[in-house]
């Protein structure tokens, strides 16, 4: 049976290899000249709204006749109401960011709560059901805060940016109305899902409860997608005529160029973020636990939360690359402002924070191996993973150009460092991030194996195959990064990043498959000691949540800031006194203040969940009832 399975697997492998060689000939290949032509025409389009317009206007013609939209207003400083002592930009910035942080959390939590509930139902392990309930309980308070901040943001926009709000409401009136109604649906479904948790248990009732969970996710995602459309329309407005006037319909406005790239990026990022925040919740409860059983429970919850965060963190850089590539495709000017202009240094901070995310996630996993009696077999190898992660981290945040004085520039002999300069360009970063991902996955693999002993006869061969997989994959990543990154032109450099990314994914997928077969029916070394975790490991979970929050704030600022002096790129100019890009230090300070406010509010939410479980019996306070 085993031989037969192995033959089938090997045959499938060989067929897959053959198919990969044949694939380009079977599919309509895009020739370099065609690709260049398409790219340049798309990229040129938004540089002047007039150039973008004819094609979309022609497409929109049959449905555009019904409504005529006015051109975007030309505003002056007098059109922006001021309230004494309030900086309108900072106020709206902070409120919008806080709304987004909480919004991301409450959209994400039902996604993995649903999955955890399904796992609980399939395995009939009640612990999963209890954990899912605990997560949704935390998100209920966050949901109220999201709504309050959303209301505050609407008031802020109406008060400080009335003409912009009016213009967007005119274009998106249908979707804004749908958004308001969907909010009712979201509230109703969420409350049924939460308050009906213990009522809808067992048999068909559980299925009904799961259906509400699915519905909750569907409504939540729709809400996010609608709001994303308003944001992305401001970056990449669609359905414009030759004069830059909107003449399309609601769907054309929603389905603008950057809508789907943002949707994908935010869905993945929200899951990672939601996982990190509930991880912080588990750490908070773990550190404040008085009993061993409570510590064990929250250790287990923290492990699951970290698993959710890492699972979504692994594909997140790819979603980010896709979004950035689409920004470049939409407007080269926007792309260069994003990564080659004033905002480039924010990406260095981003690199440091992403590095911190990977290091803290790995550190937590390594600490988690202490729960197992069998971890000693893998512990000596951890230091090598740590060395690779640190080297990849250093390459990842090495800047291309440095901020230098004239004398420093003279000493250096130019803007680039003699040795480190080569590490500042994207091929080095791509190689580094693929190493970060692969070795983070390796940490997880070690963690998973720490307490198990494989019983299959081919365990040695399976291990050898996995080592071969990692070796071949990492060599491929290096060749693609070095050869295509430094000895070819830009087109090859960018193109080579795709097989690099796919190599990482192939390593992960094949390794998971081998592992699943190899550890089927494996023996446990000993029962896991849940709760046997250091206090430091819990601070790693806090670091994960804080890094994510700060990262989202900074990159959100960059995404919004690349519109520069436009409310809506190229068609609606910002006429306010704040129509300039603030200094990076100033922007980072605003985001940092926002992060502190958000974390304070999150701790308040955690504290509320703690006091809700307390019940004080006030003896002698209440009148005795007859």
């Amino acid at each position: 049976m085993l031989t037969r399975n192995m033959k089938i697997t090997f045959g499938a492998f060989m067929l897959a290899i053959l198919a990969m060689f044949m694939l380009p000939d079977l599919m309509p290949a895009v020739h370099a000249s065609e690709a260049t032509a398409t790219e340049s025409s798309v990229a040129a389009a938004p540089a002047s709204a007039a150039a973008a317009a004819p094609a979309s206007a022609a497409a929109a013609e049959p449905v555009a006749n019904a409504i005529t939209y006015p051109p975007a207003p030309k505003l002056t400083e007098a059109d922006y109401p001021q309230i004494k002592g309030v900086n309108s930009r900072v106020a709206v910035w902070l409120v919008a960011q806080l709304h987004l942080w909480f919004g991301a959390f409450v959209v994400a939590v039902p996604m993995f709560v649903f999955i955890i509930e399904v796992i609980g139902m399939v395995t009939r392990d009640e612990r999963y059901d209890n954990m899912a309930y605990e997560f949704i309980k935390v998100s209920i308070t966050a949901y109220s805060l999201t709504a309050i901040l959303g209301g505050l943001l609407s008031f802020g926009l109406i008060l400080f940016y009335p003409d912009l709000f009016k213009y967007l409401a005119l274009i998106f009136k249908e979707s804004m109305w749908a958004y308001a109604l969907l909010f009712f649906a979201e509230s109703a479904v969420l409350y049924i899902y939460y308050y009906g948790w213990h009522w809808l248990q067992g048999g068909n009732k559980k299925w009904i409860h799961l259906t509400f969970g699915l519905l909750l996710n569907a409504v939540g995602l729709q809400l996010m997608f609608l709001a994303n459309a308003w944001t992305t329309f401001m970056m990449s407005p669609a359905a414009l005529d030759a004069a830059g006037v909107f003449n399309g319909n609601t769907w054309e406005a929603i389905h603008n160029f950057l809508w789907n790239p943002i949707n994908i990026h935010r869905v993945v990022a929200n899951v990672a973020y939601g996982g990190s925040v509930v991880g912080a919740y588990a750490a908070f409860k773990f550190l404040s636990a008085q009993k061993q059983a409570e510590r064990a429970h929250y250790d287990w919850v923290g492990y699951n939360a970290n698993f959710i965060a890492i699972s979504a963190l692994l594909p997140l850089p790819f979603a980010g690359y896709y979004l950035t590539a689409e920004m470049y495709a939409y407007s080269q000017q926007m792309g260069i402002t994003l990564m080659g202009g004033v905002f480039a240094w924010i990406f260095i901070i981003q690199a440091v924070l992403i590095g911190a995310l990977f290091l803290s996630a790995n550190y937590y996993l390594w600490c988690g191996m202490g729960r197992s009696e069998g971890a000693y077999r893998y512990n000596p190898r951890i230091k090598y993973i740590a060395i690779v992660l640190v080297i990849a981290f250093l390459v990842w945040f090495t800047p291309h150009t440095l901020v230098l004085t004239n004398s420093e520039l003279k000493d250096l002999g130019g803007p680039y460092h003699k040795y480190l300069g080569v590490l500042g360009i994207m091929p080095a970063k791509n190689t580094a991030v693929n190493f970060l991902l692969t070795f983070t996955f390796m940490s997880f693999l070690f963690y998973r194996r720490a307490n198990k002993v494989a019983t299959v006869s081919w365990a040695a061969a399976g291990n050898a195959a996995q080592i071969a997989l990692f070796t071949a994959g990492l060599i491929n990543i290096v060749i693609l990064g070095v050869y295509h990154g430094y000895f070819t032109n830009t087109v090859y450099k960018v193109a080579a990043s795709i097989p690099q990314v796919l190599t990482t994914l192939v390593i992960i997928i094949i390794s998971v498959v081998i592992d699943a077969f190899m550890y089927k029916g494996a023996k446990d070394v000993a029962p896991l000691h849940w709760g046997r975790m250091s206090t430091r490991s819990q601070y790693a979970l806090f670091l994960l949540a804080v890094s994510f929050t700060w990262l989202m704030g900074l990159m959100g600022y960059v995404r919004s800031g690349i519109r520069q002096h436009w409310h809506i790129s190229n068609i609606f100019r910002d006429g306010s006194p704040d129509a300039f890009t603030p200094g990076l230090g100033y922007a980072a300070s605003v985001v940092s203040v926002g992060t502190i406010i958000f974390m304070a509010m999150v701790i308040f939410v955690f504290w509320l969940s703690t006091i809700s479980g307390k019940h004080v019996v006030a003896k002698g306070y209440w009148k005795e009832q007859a």
Partner: protein, 38 residues
Amino acid sequence: MKAYFLPFIGAFVVFCLVFLALDFSMMKLQGLTLIYQH
């Protein structure tokens, strides 16, 4: 040693082919070649 070495060599050759095929097809799908051509 034999239990590790032979499967390693076999698997290494297979995975090298897998990644080569991946690189080849991805570059070709983008209208490029595996080896840089001026």
